[in-house]
Symmetry: C2
Subunit: 423 residues, 2 copies
Amino acid sequence: MGNTEVNINGIRLNKTLFESCKWGSTPDGGMNRVALNDDDKSVREWFAEQSKSYGCSVKVDQVGNMFATRPGMNNSLPPIAMGSHLDTQPAGGKYDGIVGVMSALEVMKVIHENDIKTYAPIAICNWTDEEGARFSPAMLGSGVWAGVFTPEYAYARTDKNGTKLGDELKRIGFLGDTPAIYKENPLLAHFEVHIEQGPILQREDAPVAVVTGVQAMSWFNVELRGREQHCGTTPMDARADTLLAAAKMIIAINEAALGIPGSLASVAVINSTPQSINTLASRVQFNIDARAKDNGVLAQLEMRLKEVCDEVSAKTGVKIEVWDRFWNSPRITFDERMVETVRASAKESGFKYLDLQSGAGHDSVYTSKICPTAMIFVRCKDGISHNPSEFSTEQDIEAGAQVLLRAVLAYDNIIQAQEEHKH
Amino acid sequence: MGNTEVNINGIRLNKTLFESCKWGSTPDGGMNRVALNDDDKSVREWFAEQSKSYGCSVKVDQVGNMFATRPGMNNSLPPIAMGSHLDTQPAGGKYDGIVGVMSALEVMKVIHENDIKTYAPIAICNWTDEEGARFSPAMLGSGVWAGVFTPEYAYARTDKNGTKLGDELKRIGFLGDTPAIYKENPLLAHFEVHIEQGPILQREDAPVAVVTGVQAMSWFNVELRGREQHCGTTPMDARADTLLAAAKMIIAINEAALGIPGSLASVAVINSTPQSINTLASRVQFNIDARAKDNGVLAQLEMRLKEVCDEVSAKTGVKIEVWDRFWNSPRITFDERMVETVRASAKESGFKYLDLQSGAGHDSVYTSKICPTAMIFVRCKDGISHNPSEFSTEQDIEAGAQVLLRAVLAYDNIIQAQEEHKH
């Protein structure tokens, strides 16, 4: 099919990305387009119009997920999808999610302008509320599609003002009638371009990464109980200082991860009670975010974390009252053939690339449970994300979209060969 | 004057203490009698009646401080006062402050019942809002009397509901007309019995301490700035983890104080931003409470604290954006003759006693700026205070009151000798 000749227009892609950001942009160069607000409504409407002008028909499902599909030669097949999200953090940037949908739109433009007849239909997905910033939890739209949540669960999610997601969907005109479940609205595959949200590509001087899967992760809630004592009257050696014990645990947790290759452990949330300058904290709560390249390493890390915190507890007399692993997500391995397709595409495009695991959650985490999925990471400046200063260069975004274009067409060829072999 | 024969009735004292606690007692055995609430009104009225029945006349000043005075032989002299406070923390105990006023009342009873003619008048002070729990700052009533605050400043203090102290004084009938300033309502001396609020007397097996002064203290506000980074995508060696740096500082602060004899340093308040489990904190705020036996040691400690935190900052790349010593109170040395009077009284009473410095603030801190002041500490269980489980034994409270009784009478003798020597 001679597809190797077609190329992404990086300048146009970047222009379209900025055009799409006129809804929700903030004076600091960032974005505030939380799910289903008026700006999200506007960009959705714009996205639907854009897609239609490049040969797509647009479906909206019952939780607002958008599917812009261009027919192929064999429309009995579900589409090969390219998805991400247009919603942002309340103080987010122009790249997280948006690069994925805009890259997909650019790929669609190139396919359409070059009048490429794909074998399978090709679709762009805009997943609802990936950020979870307005309506928790994150990746809600793709989660419903994957059968992890029910539409009713999604409808009942409320924002901080008590507004329900279901009511907002209706208000902005994106409560669609396509069933919000993969069984009735299947995808053949799901490709996602996303900024790395980490500093490794920058450090290794590569524009793109082939994402092989998602790290194993666990979240813990830890609550400590020491003694509320007067800071002025309690000798240093007669204290059960809860915050001091927490500080020792935070350092031990850091050292534990440093000692286990392929693992990460972070404490980012801490709260002490009572908040009184001259009264030692009697209760401290903190969370641990633990991640590892595979489930075995995560299990090893988790054991070590408990061990080192128990040691601090024993030495300080501060009790660990709660040690609760309240969330766990085992390692996700993306579909081998999809990943290989992306890798070949990066190689053939002539870009330096790395194999990386995703450390963050993405819509692809949920689609991977249902259909072959792969991701392409695009380098971003200093690894900064969820911040107005989030940035990727025009060239790197072009590279990501180019890899996507090649991979989609190559995967379509694989599907065609496979289907034709059947007959 | 044969005063050595008179003795405190510990059983009666403890009974009176419990009687006074029927206003504001909580089901857990603690107290909630924050300044100027209905229970404070009731106990003030009861206290006035009690004092009158033991030969006192009662004055109330413009900020509600109560002065119950029993005339002496020379009523041209200001009274020798025994003061403390009847207000409590919202989840406080039956001993902090209350022991001081009840001991003074018991002393007054013994003096009255034994028909002792003191040379100077003797007074009991109930200082308004010592705790500062309802109306900040603490020691407000004694602070106004000492000229540290104006009555107008006190009137304008609001509680969490926006109610003004001045309006509450009026409402409960304790907006008196005695000028709330030492110049117009002087005291000859101020003795205060108070629970230790620390564990040293228990550890040293002594019922009472002679308080020689108050530690030097400083409070710091520290604000750190690192990088907001994704916990899942940022390698451990590419982080400027603000909370990890704070943890290292907390430990270094602790070690700094351990390395400087006679000093204390505590971090009890901490706040991290953003409170997101998978985003490293970019800002952490904490406070340091630094204390030392004298101003020189405090200065040494303060220098060391900055040094160790700077070291952590340099190593971690987390900046110290704010290092603000927002409060400092130099060491207070109580009047030598007053302290010696208390020490002699403890010795003659046959009690084991220690010399201690106060680590906490008390009304005596302000009175000591104006008139000769000394304090007597009473042992309390496990050093626990500001808590429903706060406790001192009947015997230890009796010991404190006995030392107070002897000291007041001895000091009165000293005054008498001094005055008669003048003539």
